[in-house]
Symmetry: C2
Subunit: 324 residues, 2 copies
């Protein structure tokens, strides 16, 4: 089985070969193909969003995807959380000497496919190979530049009292997929995660003033993201536990394993704080889009206690949700 | 000695603490301090350059700097190689559980200092902590957005016959500093590397049409970069070995250790292919700027053999320089 060697990362002939035979085969941007020290983008008008994320999943393959798809979706979704459409991505790859070339190819093929479907390109990249043992497997980092729609003012600090809190789909499935490699997972966890920018664009085009804040509940899960939002806007989140979208498989699995689904990463999902006058229509629109099919209203914004998240149970009792 | 723990990377309270106590203390951009999913930049006019690089130096501290300074200078210099001034940087950090917090602080302090001196800010970031043994030490990745001066057309493909080849300073010092931790290094290798964008801006402002191509001879060294340029522009490089700037310490060290300095990474240096009518003036200007003090003309561009680099010896004999 062919493996990645140190020479693949030394910047010389073997590096060029790996670039040509593998990376450029799946990443088809003409700008990337120039292989200059940096990529030049076309001129455009408007404000930019800029985001970066590192991906260290071990093993790099998991139900529903791999580290390559995740690296693309993760960065696109971070941009989308400011109402930005992705303009260009960069990809950094750190590989351990001896990593199977076939696995690398599958990961980069997935990056290529994910960028095509998301209608964005990897225009800049870097590959380093480290000696065996210096790292296990592979790590990726993607950065993204996004173009913000004119007039868009989406920020975690802009939530207002009375806003309606929407979650765009079932939480926890992705987090369980990453966590558990034992084959005991509920079937829903094998579903693909995806990019949210097309959904966000639809919402912004149809209801330009509806969205006050967006956040994707990845690391630290829904609970940590809700606390962050409550704190950033100095408001209180009143969340109805029963309303949080959760598939039956995840609910049962979490109960059995004594895991709280509220702290599981949920890539491909967002929390949307919505002007109440548009909330029902925004929700209806989201549900017409596959990635938003399970969207639901989970709560409302109140004035105090500031920075806190109150979880309302079916029996009327209330507890506080904390960050991880 | 306090160490980095897995909780520092889980996105929860400990992560916020590390962010607040360490990262935000040294990286003072108000945009970064928002901690949104992506950073919003001010509106600006013009074409953008985009670049990314991963840094895996082990150990992370070396004569003349550390992985933090290198990550800043490397990405700024990649942008400068297209004639772009840095607009914003992102920083990804992957740390092994147990990494000394003091070392992390020193690295991030260096990032902060390097960005301040370069007049650019880290506006977006991500930190991941991986379990002990999954990686050794620390890896960084920086991406950068740069603004290209109007009308600037600098590209490795734009070299013309007759162009003069300038190298901006002594080569090999940085590469030896990274390679050798044994204390046998010549003193010149402990010199700081630096960002080149201010020098490039000076050249472009004073001689807007002079620069046809730029490349920084990092991985693969001067030889690999010269071959890349010759190939990208389908020209031949006629290089005078005696003219290549090399400090006496590196020359002796390389001779003794049987290393070719032409393949050593030289961060903080560039190859500049210059319109011949401006070459002497550009060289004179470069020498007035500290980072260009040792700049020299190392050769000329001829038509053929296309894509090759011919090395002319003092005795008139000629050999070919290949990529690593």
């Amino acid at each position: 089985m062919p493996k990645v060697s140190l020479a693949h990362g030394n910047g010389g002939a073997a590096s060029q070969e790996l670039l040509g035979d593998l990376f450029l085969r799946y990443l088809s941007s003409p700008v990337l193909h120039c292989l200059e020290d940096s990529a030049l983008l076309e001129e455009h008008a408007g404000r930019l969003a800029f985001s970066t994320d590192c991906y260290t999943n071990e093993p790099p393959f998991f139900p529903g995807g791999n580290i390559g798809t995740l690296a693309v979706h993760g960065t696109i979704n971070n941009l989308a959380m400011r109402g930005a459409m992705p303009l260009a991505l960069s990809l950094g790859v750190i590989i351990e000497e001896g990593f199977p070339l076939g696995d690398l190819e599958e990961i980069i093929r997935s990056v290529g496919l994910a960028t095509e479907l998301a209608e964005v390109a990897v225009v800049a990249g870097d590959t380093k190979v480290v000696p065996r043992g210096r790292m296990q497997g592979i790590c990726l980092s993607t950065s993204g530049i996004g173009l913000v729609a004119p007039g868009s003012e989406i920020s975690g600090t802009d939530i207002e009292e009375g806003d309606v809190v929407i979650v765009s789909g079932n939480i926890g499935e992705h987090g369980l997929a990453l966590r558990n490699q034992g084959g005991k997972l509920p079937a829903c966890c094998a579903g693909e995660i995806g990019p949210m920018h097309f959904m966000i664009r639809e919402i912004m085009e149809n209801f330009p003033d509806a969205t006050h804040a967006l956040r994707d509940p990845t690391r630290g899960g829904l609970a940590t993201s809700l606390v962050w939002l409550a704190s950033a806007s100095a408001v209180c989140m009143e969340i109805d536990r029963q309303a949080i979208p959760l598939c039956e498989g995840v609910r049962r699995f979490c109960a059995r394993e004594n895991i709280s689904p509220f702290y599981l990463a949920s890539e491909g999902r967002c929390i949307l704080c919505c002007d109440p006058q548009y909330a029902e229509e925004v929700l209806a629109l989201m549900r017409t889009i596959p990635i938003g099919a399970n969207a639901g209203i989970i709560g409302r914004i109140s004035a105090s206690p500031m920075g806190r998240v109150r979880l309302h149970e079916a029996d009327g009792s209330i507890s506080f949700l904390d960050a991880l």
